[in-house]
């Protein structure tokens, strides 16, 4: 078994390589609520009380944004999206290492484990209560490297978030590592 593993030189099939650039996912959020922002702030500052600008309208009104805005790392797509409607089947499949390729209609590499490899983000306008965010993600790059856990596959996706005014909220590159 270990001899076979050592002979593997790539996990990227021709079909996977041909899918580079393809749109993986497009989602539209429900309007972001102040409650969504409060809960996010509570979770990321726990056990301390989150800064008042995330939950006190008077304090937020005196801030540079003139009102409550979400933390930059806030995710408006958790639990359910307006489009596609309903609970995402991807949510229950999030731990499936081949879910990336499934989203572009090709077979995945069949690796067992997934780790978050990192991310790179450029920020635009902040997210405010009432905003509806659209996210478009495409498959950007495959890279491979040998590591202590064997041949590791690095997959990068590119994401653009815009609000209901067409303004860019953020652009990002995310990498997952599979082995």
């Amino acid at each position: 078994m270990s001899e076979l593993a050592e002979q593997v030189t790539t996990r990227v099939s021709a079909e996977m390589r041909a899918a580079l650039g393809r749109e993986m996912k497009r989602a539209v959020s429900y309007p972001v609520s102040e409650s969504d922002i409060r809960r996010w702030a509570i979770a990321v500052y726990y056990p301390a009380q989150p800064p008042r600008r995330f939950w006190d309208a008077d304090v937020a009104a005196a801030s540079r944004y003139g009102g409550i805005v979400a933390p930059e790392d806030f995710n408006p797509f958790a639990w359910m999206t307006a489009e596609p409607a309903g609970v995402s089947p991807m949510a229950s499949a999030a731990s499936d290492p081949d879910s990336l390729e499934a989203s572009v209609g090709v077979a995945g590499p069949g690796l067992k484990n997934v780790l978050n490899g990192g991310l790179q983000i450029d920020y635009g306008v902040p997210i405010r209560p009432g905003d509806v965010i659209t996210s478009v993600t495409s498959l950007a790059e495959y890279r491979e490297r040998s590591g202590s856990l064997g041949l590791m596959l690095f997959t990068t996706s590119r994401t653009l978030w815009t609000n209901q005014h067409g303004e860019t909220v953020k652009t990002g590159l995310g990498t997952v590592i599979r082995y």
């Binding site: 979770a43 930059e72 958790a78 978050n116 790179q120």
Partner: protein, 137 residues
């Protein structure tokens, strides 16, 4: 003219948290991130780890908290990047830290580049990265 003086070499006050299921479960609840290796020691061991590990995105959140709290409403984050070198293990004290590595005057304020990272109690870096901010108030 900015009210937040910033110089190369400035250290950013650390943001620290003792991390474990109490923190990870709350983050899973808001980010819908119910992945077995973040919830179950056995799943973590099956993945070759010592047990369950924290979410990479929670490290990202801590690093944003670090920079945002330091800015204190006098600027904004323009860009952020980090990679995940080592997992966040259960009951680890995670410290998000940073220092200023470059400062550039702009017409609309001061742009600063920060080296940022999270580390365990021994100083081993879990999630190193960079952050660019604009200080304009």
């Amino acid at each position: 003219m900015t009210s937040l003086a910033v110089s190369v070499g400035d250290e950013i006050p650390a943001f620290e948290r003792l991390t474990g299921f109490a923190e990870w479960n709350r983050y899973a609840a808001v980010n819908e991130e119910f992945v077995p290796i973040h919830m179950d020691d056995e799943a973590g061991r099956a993945a070759g780890l010592t047990g369950a590990i924290g979410m990479g995105q929670l490290q990202v959140a801590y690093l944003h908290n670090l920079v945002r709290d330091w800015l204190d409403n006098r600027g904004r984050i323009l860009a952020f990047s980090c990679r995940f070198n080592s997992p966040n293990l259960k009951d680890q004290v995670v410290s998000a830290r940073g220092r200023v590595t470059a400062v550039t005057e702009r017409a609309d304020g001061v742009e600063a580049v920060l080296e940022i990272w999270t580390a365990d109690a021994a100083g081993n870096r879990l999630a190193p990265g960079t952050c660019t901010v604009l200080i304009d108030d």
